[in-house]
C-alpha cells in the first residue's frame, strides 16, 4: 500500500492518484458506518425521503390534468370536489411527512460526520509519530480533514447524493413505464437532449473542480489577510510597524484576483446555461409539436396533453438527475476513499499489538540507547550519530547543547516518539519495538516545550481526565509545582476552566503559570521516568530558582532527563552530557566537566561571566 501511494506522488500533480476504493465500496462503507454508530435511521430516512419525493412528484404530475379532465368532461360536481379533496389529502400526507423528515434528517448525518472526524482525530492522535512527518500522510490527512469540514463536504453530503441517485433512478424507471403509452420517439428525444446537455455541461461545470487549487490559493491569501487583520495577538506589530497600508494594499489585490476568478468561472458556466436553453427549446418544440398533433389528429384530451407535456419535462429531470448525481457521487467518493486511506494508513510502530507493558512507578527501569543513529527522512546527514547512553534507574541526567545540536531528537528517541535509523533503544535490555508503543508512553512524565493544554478545568488538565479525579493528588501535585496560591486565588479554584477561545468564562494563565501546571500534570501521571525540556524558559529568576530547589524532591525514586539552555540547572543532575554535532561530546558531572575546561566549561563561562562580581569582560 505504501509503495503505491509514493509512486502516485512521484507522478506529481498532473493526475491525481486513482482512489483506492471505488464508489460502490465507499457507499457500502458509509452504510456500515451508520450501522456501527447506531445511526441506522440515516439510510432509512434517505430511502423514505426519496420515496416521498417521487410520490410528491407523481401527485403533482397528475393533479392538474386529472382535475382538468373532470372539468373537461363535465363530470358531476360531486366527483370534481371529491377528486380535488382526494388530491389535497394526498398532498397533505406527503408534504406533511416530508417536512417532518426534512426537519429531522440532518442530525443523524451530522452525528455520522462527527464519527468520521472522531476516527480521523483518534488516528492522528495515536498514529506512529514519524507518520506525522511524512508528506503523503499529511496531505491525505489534510484532504480527509477538509472533506469533513462542513455539512456540504463529502462525509456528510454523500448521503444526500446517494438519496438523489436512488430517487432519480426510481423516478426514471417509473416514468419509463408511464410514458410507454407514448411512441418511443419522444423518449428518445428526451434522452438525447439530456445526454447532450450533460456532456456539454460536464466539462464546463468541471471548471471549478479543475481550478480548485487556483481558487484555494487566492482564498488562502485573502483569508490570511482578513484573519491577520482581526487577530488581536498581531495588533501590536501591525500598529507599531505601520502594517495597515501594506495589508490593505494586499487585501485589495487579493479581492481583485478573487472577483476576476469568479467572473472567469461564470463566463465559462454561462455556456452551460445557453446549451440548456437551446436544448430546452428543441425538446419542448418536439414535445409540443408531437402532442398537439395527437390532440388535433388522434383526439386525445386536453388533460392527457397536459399530463404528457409535464411528464416529458419531469422525465428530462430524472435523466439529468441520474447523470449529475452520479457525477457528484463519484467526486465525493474520492474524498471518502481518502478518509479510508488515512484510517488504514500503515503503522511502523506497534500501536495496537505488541507486548503489553505496565508502567510501575516504583520499578527501577533502565533505558539504554545502544549505538543509536538517527536521520530524518530526506535529510542529508544524521542528526544523531552513534549515541551510546544508559539512563540508569533513579539517575538524574542533564542534556545540554546549542540550538539544533539534537537534544530534542535524543529525547524523542528515548520516549519512543522516533525509532532509531541504526541501533536500538532498550528497556531493561529489551528492544522497545517489541512493546506496545502506547503502553511504553505510560512510562514517561514529560513536560515538552510545546504542550497540549485541554479546553477543560484545571483539575481535568492535571488529571487528564474528567472522571475519577483524585483531588487529593491533584492538590499535592499542584503544590509541588508551586501553583497552589495562584489556583486557590481563583474564584472557581480547581474547577476554573482553561482556554478562553473555547470557554468564555475561562481564565488565562501566564506562560510561567502554564509551565508549572504542565509540571503538576507530569507529577500526577507519576510515570517512572521524568522528562523536562526547557521547563524554565518562561519563568522569572525567583520562580526559576524555586523550581531548581524542588527538582530533586519532584524526582525522588525516579529517573529523570533534563534539557536546558541554562547551565545553572545542570548542577542538580548526577550526570551531564553535552551534545554537539549529533554526538555526545562530553560527559560527566558539573565539576568534572568544568575541570576538563572544554566545550561545557566554555558554555558555562559565557553564561556566567556577567553574573560574577568582577567587571564584565570586554563587550
Amino acid at each position: 500500500m505504501r509503495k503505491e501511494t509514493s509512486k502516485a506522488t512521484a507522478k506529481k500533480k498532473e493526475k491525481p492518484p486513482k482512489p483506492k476504493f471505488n464508489m460502490w465500496q465507499n457507499a457500502w462503507w458509509m452504510l456500515k458506518l451508520s450501522w456501527a454508530e447506531k445511526e441506522k435511521k440515516v439510510p432509512i430516512l434517505c430511502i423514505l425521503s426519496a420515496a416521498l419525493a417521487i410520490s410528491g412528484n407523481l401527485t403533482n404530475l397528475f393533479i392538474t390534468p386529472v382535475i382538468l379532465g373532470t372539468v373537461e368532461i363535465h363530470a358531476p360536481l360531486r366527483t370534481l370536489l371529491l377528486t380535488i379533496l382526494g388530491f389535497v389529502g394526498l398532498n397533505l400526507l406527503i408534504n406533511g411527512v416530508s417536512s417532518y423528515i426534512n426537519a429531522n434528517e440532518m442530525y443523524g448525518k451530522i452525528t455520522l460526520r462527527s464519527a468520521i472526524i472522531n476516527r480521523l482525530n483518534t488516528k492522528a492522535c495515536i498514529t506512529s509519530y514519524p507518520n506525522l512527518n511524512k508528506k503523503d500522510f499529511q496531505e491525505l490527512l489534510d484532504k480527509a480533514c477538509d472533506a469533513t469540514r462542513g455539512n456540504d463536504r463529502a462525509s456528510e453530503a454523500i448521503w444526500y447524493t446517494m438519496q438523489r441517485v436512488l430517487q432519480n433512478a426510481a423516478g426514471f424507471v417509473i416514468y419509463l413505464f408511464l410514458m410507454s403509452a407514448l411512441p418511443p420517439i419522444l423518449i428518445v428525444v428526451v434522452l438525447i437532449t439530456s445526454l447532450l446537455n450533460y456532456f456539454i455541461s460536464k466539462p464546463l461545470n468541471n471548471y471549478s473542480y479543475k481550478h480548485k487549487e487556483e481558487l484555494s490559493k487566492i482564498l488562502n491569501q485573502l483569508g490570511y489577510l482578513l484573519n491577520t487583520a482581526k487577530d488581536h495577538t498581531m495588533a501590536k506589530d501591525i500598529r507599531l510597524f505601520g502594517l495597515r497600508p501594506w495589508f490593505q494594499e494586499l487585501q485589495d489585490k487579493a479581492i481583485k484576483a478573487y472577483l476576476a476568478y469568479l467572473m472567469r468561472e461564470q463566463n465559462v458556466l454561462i455556456w452551460s446555461g445557453i446549451a440548456d436553453l437551446v436544448l430546452a427549446f428543441l425538446r419542448n418544440g418536439v414535445a409540443y409539436a408531437y402532442l398537439i398533433g395527437l390532440v388535433l389528429n388522434n383526439g386525445i384530451s386536453i388533460s392527457m396533453f397536459l399530463l404528457y407535456f409535464s411528464a416529458v419535462g419531469s422525465f428530462n429531470g430524472w435523466v439529468s438527475g441520474i447523470l449529475n448525481s452520479l457525477l457528484t457521487m463519484h467526486r465525493q467518493s474520492v474524498d471518502i476513499s481518502i478518509i479510508r486511506e488515512v484510517l488504514e494508513y500503515s503503522e511502523p510502530f506497534r500501536i495496537k499489538d505488541g507486548e503489553p507493558l505496565r508502567a510501575e512507578p516504583e520499578h527501577p527501569y533502565e533505558i539504554r540507547l545502544d549505538h543509536v543513529s538517527f536521520r530524518y527522512p530526506e535529510a542529508e546527514k544524521d542528526t544523531l550519530t552513534d549515541i551510546d547512553l544508559t539512563l540508569h534507574p533513579g539517575e538524574k541526567l542533564a542534556i545540554v547543547g546549542l540550538n539544533g545540536a539534537g537534544k530534542t531528537t535524543l529525547v524523542k528517541l528515548l520516549c519512543g516518539l522516533l525509532d532509531p535509523t541504526q541501533g536500538r533503544v532498550l528497556l531493561d535490555g529489551r528492544d522497545i519495538r517489541e512493546y506496545n508503543r502506547r503502553d511504553y508512553y505510560k512510562l514517561f512524565s514529560a513536560v515538552f516545550q510545546d504542550f497540549s493544554l485541554l479546553a477543560a478545568t484545571i483539575a481535568a488538565n492535571v488529571a487528564q481526565s474528567e472522571e475519577d479525579i483524585d483531588m487529593e493528588r491533584v492538590r499535592e501535585c499542584v503544590a509541588k509545582a508551586s501553583l497552589t496560591e495562584k489556583i486557590e486565588s481563583l474564584p472557581e479554584g480547581y474547577e476554573t476552566k482553561l482556554n478562553r477561545e473555547i470557554h468564555l468564562d475561562a481564565v488565562m494563565l501566564s506562560g510561567g503559570e502554564t509551565q508549572r501546571l504542565m509540571l503538576a500534570r507530569a507529577l500526577y501521571k507519576n510515570g517512572p521516568v521524568v522528562v523536562l525540556d526547557e521547563p524554565t524558559a518562561a519563568l522569572d529568576p525567583i520562580a526559576e530558582s524555586d523550581l531548581y530547589q524542588k527538582y530533586s524532591e519532584m524526582t525522588t525514586h525516579r529517573s529523570s532527563v533534563y534539557i536546558s539552555h541554562r547551565l545553572a540547572s545542570t548542577r542538580f543532575c548526577d550526570r551531564i552530557i553535552l551534545i554537539s554535532d549529533g554526538r555526545i561530546a562530553e560527559e560527566g558531572t558539573h565539576e568534572t566537566l568544568l575541570q576538563k575546561g572544554a566545550a561545557y566549561a566554555e558554555l558555562f563561562e559565557v553564561q556566567s561571566r556577567y553574573y560574577r562580581e568582577e567587571e564584565p569582560a570586554n563587550v
Binding site: I67, V71, E72, V88, N91, N95, Y107, S114, A115, I117, L120, N121, K123, A124, C125, Y129, L141, C145, Y224, L226, K230, M234, A235, K236, L240, F241, G242, Q248, Q251, L262, M263, I270, G273, I274, D276, L277, F281, N284, Y288, I292, L296, L402, N403, K412, A446, F448, D450, S452, E466, R500, I502, A538, D540, P541, I542, S545, H565, Y610, Y611, R612
Partner: protein, 631 residues
C-alpha cells in the same frame, strides 16, 4: 456536555421599527462598500420574479386554443412564441446571472472585510480588551455557525423584493378569476359571482400566508435561542475534533494519551448538533411540528384555490386555458407570499444579531488624537518623562502601574527588570502609547504625548515584544514591513541581528516565505531564528527608540552572548530599553528600573543597586547568580 451556558437576554425580540432600522443600516453599509452589488441584486431579483409569469400566461393560451378553435396556424405561432420567448428570457437571465453569482459569492468575503477593516482601525487598547475580542468571536460564531450574519440582510432584501414583484405579476394574471362571471344557466353556482368570494379568497390568502410562516418563524426562533449552546458546541467540536492535527503538540498528545479525552467529547450524542442533542430533540418535537403545520396550511390554501377555480370553470365562467393559468399563478403566488411573510418574521428574529454587529462596528475610538507634529529639526533629540503615571487596565480594579516617575534621554540604555506580572510590559505599552495612563502624564520633550499626531509618535519606537508576530510573507517583506524594500538595508539589518549565516543557507534568500502557507518552498523558522528576524525588523525601522522585551529567551547561550556583544553596534546612537529575565544583560545598561507589584522600587546603575542588599534587585540577581558562581 455538562456545560452551563450563560443565558443572556438574547431572546428579546426587537420591535418592528427597530428591525427596519437595523436592516436598512445593514443595506446602507453594503451599499457603501459595493454600490453595484445592490443594483445587480435588485435587477436580477425583479427579473427572475417576473419571468415565470410570462410562461404561465403563454402556456395557458396554448391550452385555450387547443380546447377552443384548434387553429393549427395559430397554434404553431403560439408554440413558437412561447418557446422563443422562453429561450430569450433565459438568455437574458443567464447573462445577468453571471454578475449576480459573482456578487453573491463575494458577499461572504465582503462581510469579513468589513469586520477586518474595523479591527485594523480600532485603538489598540480596545483591540486588546478581552471583552471586545470576545464580542467579535461571538459575532463570528453566530455568523458562521448559525447563519446569523450581516449578509443575511441581502437575502432578506432579495426575498422581500421578489415577493412584492410576484404579487404584482400574480395579481395581473389572476384578477380576471374574480371578474369573469359564472353564467346564469349554472343555477345555484351563480353564488360564486358574489363579491363576498373575492373578499373570502383574499382573506384566506392573507390568513394562510400569515399563518403558515408563523410556524417557520417559531422554528427559526428555536435556533436563535439555541445559538448560545450552538456556539459552545461548535467551539468544543473545533477543539476536540481536531486536536490530533496539531503537529506541534503531537508528542504531548501521545505521552498523555489525550485521544481518550477527545473521544469522550466527539462521540457524545447529546452534544448540541448530534442525534440526541438539543436541536435534534426540538426537531423531533415542537420544531418538526411547526414545519408540518406550516406545510399543511399551504396545502390547504392551494386546495381551496383549486376548489374555487374548478367550480367556477365547471359552472362555465371560463375555459380550460384559464384554469391552468389561475392554478399555476396562484400556486406560484402563494409560495412567494408565504416566503415573503416568513422572511419578515425571520428578519425580526435576525435583527437582534444585526444589532450585535452594529454594536461592534459602532465601538468608538477613545484615544485623543493630537495633531502636533514631531519636531524633526531636533535631530532625534528626544527626552521622555513619566510624571506620576498610574494605570489600570480597562475593567480592572487593580492598578497595573502605580506612581511611576522616570526620565529617559536619547542615547541611554535602560534595563527593566522584575518578576512576572510586576508591570514591565505594561510600562512599555504606555511608553509606546498603546495605552494612555489612567493618571499622570507622559511627556515627550516636555509636551504631553497625547498632543502629538499618533502615527508620528509611534514612528519613533521600534519594538520586539515578547509575543511578537511575523507574517507569512517573505523574509525581506517581514523585515521591511512592506511590499517593496531596500535589499541592502534588509541584509544589513539581518546581519546585525545575527541572522547572516542562516540567510546564506536559504536558497531563495530574502525571497523565502516564512512558513509554508503561501509557498511550498517556504521555511518554518525556529523560535530563535524568528527572534532574530524580529530584531532585524526593529533595526530596519531605524527609529530613535528601540525596545526589546525578552529578546534572547529562545536563544542558546552562545547566540545570546553574541547578541549581547553586538549590542553597541546594534543600538548605535539610539535609545534602548531592554526587558529581560536574564539579569546578566543589565550590566550593559546605563540605568536599571526595578519593578515590583506595579511600582518602580529601585532605579540606578547595576553597581549602585547591588549596594542595597535588602533591595529587590539584589534578591533577583542572587536568585540567578548563585548558580553561576565559581565554586
Amino acid at each position: 456536555m455538562s456545560e452551563k451556558t450563560p443565558k443572556k437576554a438574547k431572546k428579546d425580540l426587537l420591535s418592528w421599527k427597530e428591525t427596519w432600522i437595523q436592516c436598512l443600516r445593514a443595506l446602507k453599509l453594503f451599499y457603501h462598500y459595493r454600490p453595484n452589488m445592490l443594483l445587480i441584486h435588485t435587477f436580477y431579483t425583479i427579473y427572475t420574479a417576473l419571468t415565470p409569469f410570462v410562461n404561465i400566461f403563454l402556456s395557458a393560451r396554448i391550452i385555450e386554443e387547443l380546447s377552443g378553435d384548434r387553429d393549427p396556424q395559430k397554434l404553431m405561432l403560439l408554440v413558437l412564441l412561447t418557446l422563443g420567448l422562453a429561450a430569450l428570457l433565459s438568455f437574458i437571465g443567464a447573462l445577468t446571472r453571471r454578475q449576480f453569482k459573482v456578487e453573491d459569492q463575494f458577499l461572504f468575503c465582503l462581510e469579513r472585510q468589513i469586520r477586518a477593516d474595523k479591527m485594523l482601525r480600532m485603538d489598540y487598547c480596545l483591540v486588546d480588551d478581552t471583552k471586545i475580542h470576545e464580542q467579535l468571536d461571538t459575532l463570528e460564531q453566530y455568523c458562521n455557525g448559525a447563519g446569523r450574519s450581516l449578509r443575511r440582510v441581502i437575502w432578506f432584501y432579495d426575498m422581500i423584493l421578489s415577493g412584492i414583484v410576484s404579487l404584482f405579476g400574480g395579481f395581473s394574471l389572476s384578477i380576471s378569476l374574480f371578474t369573469s362571471r359564472v353564467p346564469e344557466s349554472a343555477g345555484r353556482l351563480t353564488a360564486l359571482n358574489h363579491p363576498l368570494f373575492i373578499v373570502l379568497m383574499i382573506g384566506l390568502l392573507l390568513a394562510v400566508t400569515y399563518l403558515s410562516p408563523i410556524f417557520i418563524v417559531k422554528a427559526d426562533a428555536v435556533w436563535s435561542k439555541g445559538a448560545n449552546s450552538h456556539n459552545l458546541g461548535n467551539r468544543l467540536f473545533g477543539f476536540y475534533g481536531f486536536l490530533g492535527h496539531k503537529n506541534n503538540v503531537a508528542g504531548d498528545v501521545r505521552m498523555y494519551r489525550q485521544e481518550a479525552f477527545c473521544e469522550k467529547y466527539n462521540t457524545d450524542k447529546k452534544g448540541t448538533f448530534y442525534s440526541r442533542g438539543y436541536y435534534a430533540m426540538q426537531a423531533r418535537g415542537a420544531v418538526g411540528m411547526y414545519y408540518v403545520a406550516s406545510t399543511i396550511f399551504s396545502v390547504i390554501f392551494t386546495g381551496v384555490v383549486y376548489l374555487f377555480v374548478c367550480s367556477k370553470a365547471w359552472a362555465g365562467a371560463f375555459g380550460l386555458g384559464m384554469v391552468t393559468q389561475y392554478i399555476s399563478t396562484i400556486s406560484k403566488l402563494s409560495g412567494k407570499v408565504s416566503s415573503l411573510f416568513q422572511v419578515l418574521g425571520q428578519a425580526r428574529n435576525h435583527a437582534t444579531f444585526l444589532k450585535m454587529n452594529f454594536d461592534f462596528l459602532d465601538i468608538e475610538n477613545t484615544m485623543i488624537q493630537g495633531d502636533l507634529h514631531l519636531d524633526k529639526s531636533s535631530d532625534k533629540k528626544y527626552e521622555i518623562e513619566f510624571q506620576d503615571v498610574s494605570f489600570r487596565y480597562p475593567g480592572s480594579e487593580q492598578y497595573a502601574l502605580r506612581h511611576v516617575n522616570m526620565k529617559l534621554r536619547v542615547g541611554q540604555r535602560l534595563a527593566v527588570v522584575g518578576q512576572n506580572g510586576s508591570g514591565k510590559t505594561t510600562f512599555i505599552k504606555l511608553l509606546c502609547r498603546l495605552y494612555d495612563p489612567t493618571e499622570g502624564v507622559i511627556l515627550l520633550n516636555g509636551t504631553d504625548i497625547r498632543q502629538y499626531n499618533y502615527e508620528e509618535y509611534l514612528s519613533i519606537f521600534s519594538v520586539v515584544f515578547q509575543d511578537f508576530r511575523l507574517t507569512d510573507f517573505t523574509l525581506g517583506q517581514n523585515v521591511a514591513a512592506k511590499e517593496e524594500y531596500d535589499k541592502t538595508h534588509v541584509e544589513d539589518c539581518l546581519c546585525k541581528a545575527g541572522f547572516d549565516e542562516r540567510l546564506r543557507e536559504l536558497p531563495l534568500g530574502m525571497e523565502t516565505y516564512l512558513t509554508k502557507n503561501f509557498s511550498d518552498e517556504g521555511v518554518d523558522m525556529s523560535g530563535g531564528e524568528k527572534q532574530k528576524i524580529a530584531l532585524a525588523r526593529t533595526l530596519y525601522k531605524n527609529a530613535p527608540f528601540i525596545i526589546l522585551d525578552e529578546p534572547t529567551a529562545a536563544l542558546d547561550p552562545i547566540a545570546e552572548a553574541e547578541i549581547y556583544s553586538r549590542f553597541n553596534e546594534i543600538i548605535e546612537d539610539k535609545t534602548a530599553i531592554y526587558i529581560s529575565h536574564r539579569l546578566s544583560s543589565c550590566r550593559f545598561c546605563d540605568g536599571i528600573l526595578v519593578f515590583d507589584k506595579g511600582a518602580v522600587v529601585q532605579q540606578g546603575s547595576h553597581d549602585s543597586l547591588m549596594q542595597d542588599s535588602s533591595g529587590k534587585y539584589h534578591e533577583l540577581w542572587f536568585a540567578q547568580a548563585q548558580y553561576y558562581a565559581n565554586n
